[in-house]
Symmetry: C2
Subunit: 222 residues, 2 copies
DNA sequence: ATATATTTTTAGATTAGTCTAAAATTTACT
DNA sequence: AGTAAATTTTAGACTAATCTAAAAATATAT
């Protein structure tokens, strides 16, 4: 059995691992868990004894297959609950993260399966993040960052790569909502900032920083 | 803020208080929390410092108004989640208690309100227990024990006063389901056991012990 | 009413998760 | 390669919740 706290460490190590092939540093984990490096060291030793991570002092940490499975199940629960909160209870997508952080630790395979079914087996959560299936398989959605799209291409907004309330509210303010049709009007060579058209109405300016965090899907031209 | 553990103690003290006007004993609490009396003593001192209970050593414990409010909110959440699990996810009523024990500690007033609304503001949970409203008011449903009903009266099964899986499965086996129409055919003077008719089909025999734990509502004769 | 039994509390220890401060190790820079 | 800087680990302590064993208080019974 894994505790609430252990699950949080595993989830965070998983997320850090997605960005690199190297071992994850103690400090990186400490930053995301909001604890001190000393506490992380203790926990890594414990997770290592439980075979959930492979860890050698001073050399960083990596999830074992077993640890990755646990992390994926926590992420699965988190994202399914987010879908529930938004689609069924009518929460806004920038309000659900905290609550899902609690719900993700509820222990019942049966519950997760039935919830998944109740929600219609969604492929992604309200932020566009893919939801691992019951076997821990993460669906490949093939979304791109808006910053990778070329001029004149038409795309649909599918999600975000950053979940801060700040960022989500900024998107809401400029009218960049999930499902919005976006056309790239111009790319500024100097700073890679964009002028885009949202739907039929607005033209609007986006920094590259923002564009990198917007996930889009190309519209099939037929 | 109250911890998971504190909330469980408050809930249990609340339940014990429903059966008596006297102070609740340390041992009674220990039995239901599945801990030792020594642990209960420690916790009671702590809850007392937080003004959630009034407690004097050797004299038992009682909830304060503040403590009762917390207990009622936990019970509210527990019962709402049970309704969700049964009505929305299709769980059987004897499968939901354990899961609701976890869900009841999720902290978000907004979540509870929206869940309540999503479920259509139910008055009672799948076992017929009343659900406190957002102000902590427990609706008076006026259900009676089947053991209090007189011969020839018609009643409808509304819930149970005992939640053990054993008991619930026994009811299922004899066909005594929520909403079943019951008519008392005969009451045995000696041991207060009953012969009843369930719906149109079955006649069946019930011990007084079982009858005391079946909640019913009289059918209005018009 | 006094001894006995029961209940409750205290004292001291344990576990999980955290902390600070100091020591050890690794990395980075001339 | 040698030293300074940064990172990581160790050592020792704290809190919440629990335990066991012993002491204290209350209840019971002749």
């Amino acid at each position: 059995m894994t505790s609430f706290t252990e699950e949080n460490y595993l989830k965070i190590i998983y997320k850090l691992s997605a960005e690199t092939d190297n071992e994850i540093s103690t400090n990186a984990v400490a930053e995301l868990t909001q604890t001190k490096a000393a506490s992380v060291t203790d926990m890594l030793r414990k997770l290592s004894e439980k075979q959930l991570v492979s860890y050698q002092k001073y050399q960083g940490v990596r999830l074992t297959e077993k640890g990755e499975k646990v992390a994926l199940m926590v992420i699965r629960k988190h994202r399914l609950w987010e879908v529930f909160l938004v689609n069924k209870l009518g929460f806004n997508w920038d309000e659900v993260h905290e609550i899902a952080e609690e719900l993700e630790h509820i222990n019942s395979d049966e519950l997760v399966q039935r919830l998944d079914e109740f929600l219609g087996f969604p492929q992604c959560d309200p932020h566009g993040d893919p939801i691992p299936n019951r076997h821990g398989l993460m669906p490949e959605l093939g979304y791109k960052n808006l910053s990778e799209i070329t001029v004149n291409q038409q795309v649909v907004m599918m999600g975000v790569a950053q979940h801060s309330t700040n960022f989500l509210q900024y998107l809401a303010k400029i009218g960049l909502n999930l499902g919005a049709k976006i056309k790239i009007i111009e790319i500024n060579d100097f700073d890679k900032s964009l002028t885009i058209k949202i739907g039929v109405k607005k033209e609007c300016f986006l920094s590259n920083e923002v564009a990198k965090n917007v996930l889009v899907k190309a519209i099939k031209m037929d």
